[in-house]
Amino acid sequence: MLNLRNLREVDWTLLILTLIICCIGVLQIYSATQASDQADRWWKQVLYICAGLVVFYLVTQIDYHTLVGQSPMLYVVFGIILVFLLVLSRVVLGAKRWISLGAGFKLQPSEFMKLILILLIARYISELKSDSMRLSDLLKLSGLVLVPFILVSLQPDLGTALCYLPILAVGILLAGLTKQQAVVLSIVFMLLVPAGWFVLKDYQKARITSFLDPASDPQGSGYQVMQSKIAVGSGGMWGLGVTRGMQIQLRFLPFAHTDFIFAAFAEEHGFVGVVFVLGLYFLLLMQILQNAQTAPDRAGTAICLGVGALMLFHVLENAGMVAGLMPVAGIPLPLMSYGGSSILSFFLMLGLVNNVRLRRFLQ
């Protein structure tokens, strides 16, 4: 299985950028938790990253076409798991997003649904006969994404569910969106947003209102954004230094090693650190898009673009939320936020991208 050709052909740019971002994440997790009862988080994260590398390797070994071929089956299996979780959560209060694997490890199926959707869209795109999208294609694509979207929203985990939308967008884009269709779609989208407002739960509405005016309720949902903005802003140009972030060490910043890890990083490393890490993400994304360009077929392009769009959405939403540029949604920063499911899921996706790259000369 593992041979020299494979090693040479690995997308080292992609992997090294990924590992640098992961290392920064581990350091930041250490800094944010070092004086608390969660001080073991950094080495757990190291374990997850190691597991991620294994997954990265494994997913590279299987030809992505096989995976794309299996995607409808995976889609159905995970769809059933999501339904099962939803039913279970109605019966047993509390258990909602997780499947417990024992020994304190939990699996979040909605994370892996992202990957499955990417594969499924890739399959759909490669089977299209025409270069311009028909209405039936649009409806089918939307239907495929909306089912898990609704299931996950009901968990309720709107943040993760929203991550499925960029995948859908890539699908529509690849299906051959015309200019007229783009205009119609934007209008429909703009009409749907206010309608969605009535479906949102109170705390979700509060998140959006507090995004628009964080000072309106400093102790409530706006509190997190307020504290996060304070952490980011007080970091200044050069930051306060590792383990010196007052907002972190005095626990004013909530979720400093998970969803708000970028605020913690911004406080301790300042604008310079922020630009450096954002630069890494930018290069990583550019490498993924480069792989989309060189992909041997539609499926490969769709996978790379899907992963790219998903990561871009994650970075935009998470880094944006932390700085008060986007409303609060509980989605992690790729590769940096603490969490096994998120790390594994991103390594899986990057492994797929690597998979596509490995097979670029197969033709």
Binding site: H65, V68, G69, R123, S126, E127, V170, L173, L174, P218, Q219, Q227, K229, I230, A231, V232, G233, S234, G235, G236, M237, M246, Q247, L250, R251, F252, A266, G270, F271, V274, V275, L278, Y281, F282, L285, M286, L289, A292, Q293, A295, P296, D297, R298, A299, T301, L305, G308, A309, L312, V315, L316, A319, G320, A323, G324, L325, L362, Q363
Partner: protein, 613 residues
């Protein structure tokens, strides 16, 4: 493989679109971070500081109030107070907080309203002197998930003597009021500051008030203190020493207990007040707390007006205690001499109106000494008629009636000293001869305060030198003395008469003290005219007065006692006797202990060297 189709152009435009999108997104994010971290860094740094640095006031303890022998009258005691931080305050928390601290909800709301003009980061004290149960309530509820607006601080709480002891003189403290803030005296105070409201607490508020300090601590999001960042210690207020003698004061309090009235004891040689009492009193400790509405209502609605300091504010007819002044006026004006005598048949007819003497059977031939000693009204009707109101008024004014004595207490009353001019000015009426007859026996338009009486007779007793009465020890007395140009022989005649009251055949022989030559004058003053009482069909009790000084030669103490509804002057005389006795008992004790300690020192000195140790 069925998915393989060569379409290298398929991706191009779409990848380029996503690349541009990525660039746009990253520019947007970097712009946002630039705005926060570079453009607005100072704002957020300041907010971060406000987050973690908490400033807590350290209230400065007020100065102690000591008696003339440095014994403590008002002290401080360490206690805990609860603060309400208004920055993080949530309306719906107020009710449960009020409940937990046993406060009235409306009162907290009113307090918040009073403070609304102060900066919001300054917390306000909502309850002082917490009980252990309340301390436990605050400790267990001040976490960020319950009531983060609660904060506890250590304060020095004022401890007042119990049961209203010296309450009027000392006065109470309270939060500075809206009206007071507009006064120049309170210019440097702010809403919420604790200030003296009455008595010594008010008069010497600036001396007693210290400068509050501040403590800055680093806190985490749970409000736990992590580190001390800065400390500005409080500067305690200065203690002040009063001229009051606790031994004399105690006897005065006991003697006036369960009565209504007031009494003042002072040293006529320098104006130092030895004791001052007013009854009914009130409990200072209960009034000085910040939450007070309920207690206030009780006190304000009491018909006996417990807040009135009768010693300096009761303005009542002095009755016969005024006669020594009339006698002095008559002697000084030359209308009578020591030999002048009037016949008393139990009453006196003045232009058809009959004025009674208190002795219905009459005093017979009455000289000056006998007239003072037995308080013959007819004698003084005659004298008053002879010299006229303006002569009486002139000498009464010299003795300090009709004006504030200038005692160092707020809100002293002036009393009323009538004269022809006064009546025209105040009542727009002509003065009648009959008016003079009433004033000559201390009735009619005349009203005085107990302190005026003690001051007047005290000054007279040392030969016509009036020292301003005062409570603060160490006030230079010489500058505050007023000397009148009186014939000392006339003064001696009046004082002889007062000596006879107690020690001869007088009205207050029951007040005689063995070994101490106490002189005095009784007074039984009607609170309304006979005609008024008859018309209303009521019988009001007379007020009993007594004014005394002792000893006869070189007097050291002057006392005035007002015993409302006491019926007869001698009843007040007994109170005065106890006060004078307390003063001389103390003096004897002091002299004795002094000779004793001298003897001990002498004994030590006479020991042979080497005997010590």
């Amino acid at each position: 493989m069925r998915f393989l189709r060569d379409e290298s152009k398929f991706a191009q435009g779409k990848v380029a679109f996503l690349q541009y999108l990525t660039v746009g997104v990253f520019l947007f994010i970097v712009g946002g971070y630039w705005n926060l971290q570079i453009h607005n860094e100072e704002i957020y740094s300041l907010k971060a500081e406000r987050n973690r640095i908490k400033s807590l006031p350290i209230p400065a303890p007020r100065g102690k109030i000591l008696d003339r022998d440095q014994r403590v009258i008002v002290d401080n005691q360490s206690s805990f107070s609860v603060l309400l931080s208004r920055e993080t305050l949530k309306e719906e928390h107020l009710k449960p907080i009020a409940e937990g601290l046993d406060l009235e909800y409306d009162e907290i709301v009113a307090q918040l309203k009073r403070h609304k003009d102060r900066p919001r980061y300054l917390p306000i004290i909502i309850k002082e002197e917490l009980t252990p149960a309340e301390i436990a309530f605050v400790e267990s509820h001040r976490d960020p998930d319950t009531y983060p607006e609660l904060e506890m601080i250590h304060t020095e709480r004022r401890v007042y003597p119990a049961n209203g002891f010296a309450s009027h003189m000392v006065g109470y403290t309270g939060e500075v009021s809206e009206q007071e803030l507009n006064l120049p005296d309170f210019a440097k105070y702010q809403q919420g500051d604790l200030v003296g409201k009455t008595g010594i607490e008010r008069q010497y508020n600036d001396v007693l008030t210290g400068v509050d300090g501040q403590r800055q601590v680093l806190v985490d999001n749970k409000g736990n203190e992590r580190r001390l960042m800065g400390l500005k210690p409080a500067v305690p207020g200065q203690s002040i020493q009063l001229t009051v003698d606790l031994d004399v004061q105690t006897v005065m309090e006991l003697a006036m207990d369960n009565k209504r009235g007031g009494a003042v004891a002072l040293d006529p040689r320098n104006g130092e007040i030895l004791g001052m009492v007013s009854r009914p009193g009130f409990d200072l400790g209960r009034l000085s707390s910040r939450e007070r509405t309920k207690r206030w209502r009780e006190i304000f609605s009491n018909p006996d007006k417990p807040l009135l300091n009768r010693a300096i504010q009761a303005q009542l007819a002095p009755g016969s205690t005024f006669k020594p002044i009339v006698a002095l006026a008559a002697l000084e004006s030359g209308e009578i001499t020591n030999d002048t005598s009037f016949s008393c048949g139990g009453g006196w007819n003045f232009f058809g109106r009959y004025f009674h003497c208190h002795n219905k059977r009459g005093h017979g031939a009455t000289s000056l000494k006998k007239a003072i000693a037995q308080s013959c009204d007819v004698y003084f009707y005659n004298v008053g008629n002879k010299i006229g109101i303006d002569q009486i008024s002139k000498y009464a004014e010299i003795a300090g009636f009709g004006a504030k004595t200038g005692v160092d207490l707020p809100s002293e009353a002036e009393g009323t000293l009538p004269s022809t001019k006064w009546k025209i000015r105040a009542l727009r009426e002509k003065w009648y001869g009959g008016d003079t007859i009433s004033v000559a026996i201390g009735q009619g338009y005349l009203t005085v305060t107990p302190i005026q009486l003690a001051h007047a007779i005290g000054g007279l007793s040392i030969g016509g030198i009036w020292h301003t009465p005062h409570l603060l020890k160490g006030d230079a007395p010489a500058k505050r003395a007023r000397k009148a140009d009186l014939d000392l022989e006339h003064v001696r005649l009046v004082l002889d008469g007062m000596c006879e009251v107690v020690n001869g055949w007088g009205t207050a022989t029951g007040s005689r003290l063995p070994g101490i030559e106490m002189c005095g004058k009784t007074g039984t003053a009607q609170t309304a005219s006979n005609e008024y009482q008859r018309a209303k069909g009521i019988r009001l009790k007379d007020n009993a007065w007594f004014v005394a000084f002792a000893p006869r030669v070189n007097p050291e103490i002057a006392v005035a006692v007002l015993f409302e509804d006491g019926e007869h002057g001698p009843a007040a005389g007994l109170i005065a006797r106890d006060i004078v006795k307390a003063y001389f008992d103390k003096k004897t004790r002091k002299e004795l202990s002094q000779t004793n300690s001298e003897a001990v020192t002498a004994g030590l000195a006479s020991k042979p060297p080497g005997a010590v140790n």
